[in-house]
Amino acid sequence: MSVLDHAPVLVVVLPLLTAPIIALLRSARVAGVATFVVAALDAALAFVLFARTLDGSVISYAMGGWAPPIGIEYRIDLLSAVMACLTSFSAALVAWFLPVSIAPEVTPGDRPRLFAAFLLCLAGLTGMVVTGDLFNVFVFLEISSLATYVLIAAGAGRDRRALTAAFDYLILGAVGATFVVIGIAFLYVVTGTLNMADLGNRLPLAGKRAGVVGASFLFVGLALKTAMMPLHRWLPNAYTFAPAAVTTFLAMTATKVALYLMIRLAVLVFGTPDEIGRINFATVLPPIGLVMLIAGSALAVVSADLKRLLAFSSIANLGLMLVALGLGGAAGIAAALVNLINHAVIKGGMFATVAGIVHRRGSSRMDSLAGLSREMPFAFVFLMIGGMGLIGVPLTAGFVSKLLVVKTAFDLGQTMIAAGVLLSSLISVVYVWRIVEACMIAKPAKPGRRHDVHPIFAAPMALLGVGTLALGIEGGPLLDVATRIAAALTGGAS
């Protein structure tokens, strides 16, 4: 067996084992470089997985050689591979500028430990998407969550409210994770197995009530991690006060992975792509999603801080993903997946740009952005591209996302949902235009000289910005992958 045959487990183990080593390093510079190298290697491994599952095959890897369903199985289909690519590529992109970005906020002595936490977070998120064992999901969920609390708290160097934000998230996150483990308990009790595929086989045969209870607990726990209303309260503060680089990483991955879990559980464990236990996606998700779309956008309009504005925008976009999922069927899942990837690219690009701005100017408050279009034109361009993506201007990924959801809704006769989505994009115009006016029209107190972002931010900003446009101009390939995943999930559901 070659090294690449162990890719399913290496993609998790690599960051997991290198994290403590990096934590022990003395030089922050070496630690930073090492972090990027590990993340980049991880991305390469994830890409290998993607290449191997593109034709629809499923990789099954038995940990320690113990065959499933007794042993823990890592089960990678195209969906898992795509998600693993998402987490590792995001980590690599962020690791590129993380050392420079957090330098003003974290003392050099603490930085290696921060990088270690970053890699642990990556390990946890990637583990969640590649494992086929339900309890393993919980373990990795907790690993990534704990690392996230630490990462968010690192923002205290710039703003001490990061500490309370991290604490709030800890309490809520721990409750949510415990709900997940309670749900797992009930499912285990009625079937005797923790392997997700095996659960899918056995669950319909088992007692109904315990299964329903377990499903409900699981759903609520995941809803909290997905920041589904009304369990979204942790997200705005966490995104606002965390270091901008950390926010970039979280915005691209954390809630997306939780959404992936919801889809995976519905299909694999409960056997129906449209519901978890008695919680029917079609009844529950569209209303919640529409409320998130409208309320999230509305709250973004009144935010005084750019990161906070983008955080509420993320809530709105998550609502859109939930609406897509709630439309049901293969078309709904495909639309949700396209939305997921597109939003990760758009938001990642915007937060990376904000990281560059904050690093140079020291603040992300809206009133401190005056004069940005003249003083930091490179940053301004990419902020605009991202903003157009959030509105859903054609030629950006955001338009493709919105078009798919609206068309799917029309196809299924759900005109009210389509109308709701279209109306909510009006509110997004308002908050994006606030950014435009703050950067381009507002007069700065004293005109500054031209001093653009630190060069290290250029590559991630450009990559994600170009990605926003590329996914908007040729959205076919991504849609093709998403459709294939959706077909496999709904056609092969047991």
Binding site: E105, Y149, R365
Partner: protein, 127 residues
């Protein structure tokens, strides 16, 4: 009556779970919240272990005379969950210490006016 006695562990689970959640929500002191979280998590441990017990069962020992085994797997799962709980508690307490250093208090009602989200930034005194 049989349900009350026979399902006693599950009643304990429910009690602990609700108590823990209540403390998390109702208590304003951050350390007390963490205690409540701990109680909540303990209830889950009891749930798992109670599920695994088989009446008249023994640990799985491969010897003559040991026929009925209690399920060992939940105990293993709980070990993992306990470790996770301990780690969460540790991070939580560390955060509480930092909050105390930075804000001077760990009471939620005193913290709320100091952590108004829309207000301008306020770095740590000892950053």
């Amino acid at each position: 009556m049989k349900d009350l006695v026979g399902l006693f562990p599950y009643w304990a689970v429910a009690l602990l779970m609700m108590t823990g959640l209540y403390i998390v929500i109702a208590q304003g002191n951050l350390v007390k919240k963490l205690i409540g979280l701990g109680i909540f998590q303990v209830s889950v441990f009891v749930l798992y272990i109670a599920m695994g017990v088989v009446s008249g069962g023994t640990p799985p020992i491969l010897e003559t005379g040991f026929v009925t085994y209690s399920n060992p797997l939940p105990s293993v799962l709980i070990l993992t969950a306990i470790v996770v709980g301990v780690a969460t508690l540790a991070v939580g307490l560390a955060l509480a210490v930092r909050i105390r250093e930075s804000f001077g208090t760990v009471e939620e009602d005193e913290l709320l006016p100091l952590t108004e989200p829309e207000a301008p930034a306020d770095a740590e005194p000892h950053a």
